[in-house]
Amino acid sequence: MKIINFKLQITNSGLILIFLLTTCHVSLVTAPLAAKWGGVDESVVEKYAEEHGRAAREPLINTDQGDLLLFLFLLAGTVGGFIAGYYWKQLTEKKKGTKVVQDNSKAV
């Protein structure tokens, strides 16, 4: 049983790694074409808004200046990734003798 679980875990981590490598590959390949890969906010939302006389304004705190936004996205990703990893570790640490009790009070 343990061996089967271990094999499942290996398969899972393999799948995650494949996803990660594919994403990195796509990112590297598409990096020079960055201008082509605009967000749908520009190609749909802002396009139709402008057509109807509602152009987007500058954000209140405009971080879209030079590499500042890139830095903030990287920082947000690192912090977000760290928090996700930290809590994942807390949740998946083995807890022996945990009782399985259903909480029927869960509501919408």
Partner: protein, 261 residues
């Protein structure tokens, strides 16, 4: 002993993989934004209306979180994990080769399935606020509209689809997949409604709404499928690692705890 060491290594590599995935995906971010409606696009009355719609949901989510975390200590790390996941996923531009554009998933189906839709709205609101403040990703005046689409619509659609499919005894992963996929599409439908209603002026609503929905389709159709895969992956991974938690939260019935995910 060997298995214990392997398990520890696996846990560490899992954490590392999460970190690397988040970093690699966000490194590609650049200026890309997506479904979030930018500052100034919606007129004041529509922006105010969407705030009025979303605030009660956020307030109720906060109340649910307080109640749940009082009775169960494991809810806090779970909500922390889900908040980080929603934040990262919803500012992660994914290139869609079929459309030549980028867009991002909403990610709100995952917390909706695990901790309920109202807490999912709260998580989305926090993520959207940080993005609007510091990442030039969505506007502050349009925050209510973004919460209504990504938070309310995304979370409640994901939750309803998951519960409905589980009632018909559909497999856990498949239910989560459809919940994620339909939740993503619902977010973009809601965004189209908000946009068409806000910008139409004297133009007819339905033709403009249809035009916006059609414009979203090439990007969001494949992205919805990807969001379904991500949701199914997350839920089935938790079911394998902490089935007791899912049973406690009412995601799985105790008699189905041993079923294949």
């Amino acid at each position: 002993m060997k298995f214990q060491i392997s398990n520890i290594k696996y846990k560490n590599s899992g954490v590392l993989t999460l970190l690397l995935t988040a970093c690699c995906l966000l490194l590609t971010a650049g200026e890309a934004r997506a479904m979030h409606i930018a500052e100034g696009i919606l007129p004041f009355n529509w922006a105010a209306l969407w705030f009025a719609v979303s605030i009660p949901f956020v307030a109720y989510g906060l109340r649910r979180l307080k109640i749940l975390s009082r009775t169960d200590l494991s809810v806090k790390p779970l909500v922390g994990l889900l908040a980080a996941i929603v934040f990262v996923i919803s500012c992660m531009p994914i290139p869609v080769p079929t459309a030549g554009t980028c867009s991002h998933p909403g990610g709100t189906a995952i917390p909706a399935i695990l901790v309920g839709p109202s807490i999912s709205v709260l998580v989305a609101a926090v993520a959207l606020l940080i993005q609007a403040l510091f990442l030039a990703h969505g506007g502050l005046t349009t925050l209510g509209a973004d919460i209504a689409s990504m938070g309310v619509m995304g979370a409640f659609t994901g939750f309803a689809v998951f519960k409905l499919l589980r009632r018909f005894h559909v497999n856990l992963s498949l239910s989560a997949f459809f919940a994620g996929m339909l939740s993503d599409w619902a977010i973009y439908l809601a965004t189209s409604v908000e946009l068409a209603a806000g910008i139409r002026g004297d133009a007819a609503f339905i033709p403009l709404f249809t035009k916006i929905v059609i414009a979203f389709v090439p990007t969001q159709l494949p992205l919805g499928i990807l969001e379904g895969v991500m949701t199914a992956g997350m839920v089935s991974l938790l079911a394998r690692r902490r089935v007791d938690l899912l049973v406690k939260l009412g995601v799985i019935e105790p008699e189905h705890a041993g079923e294949t995910v």
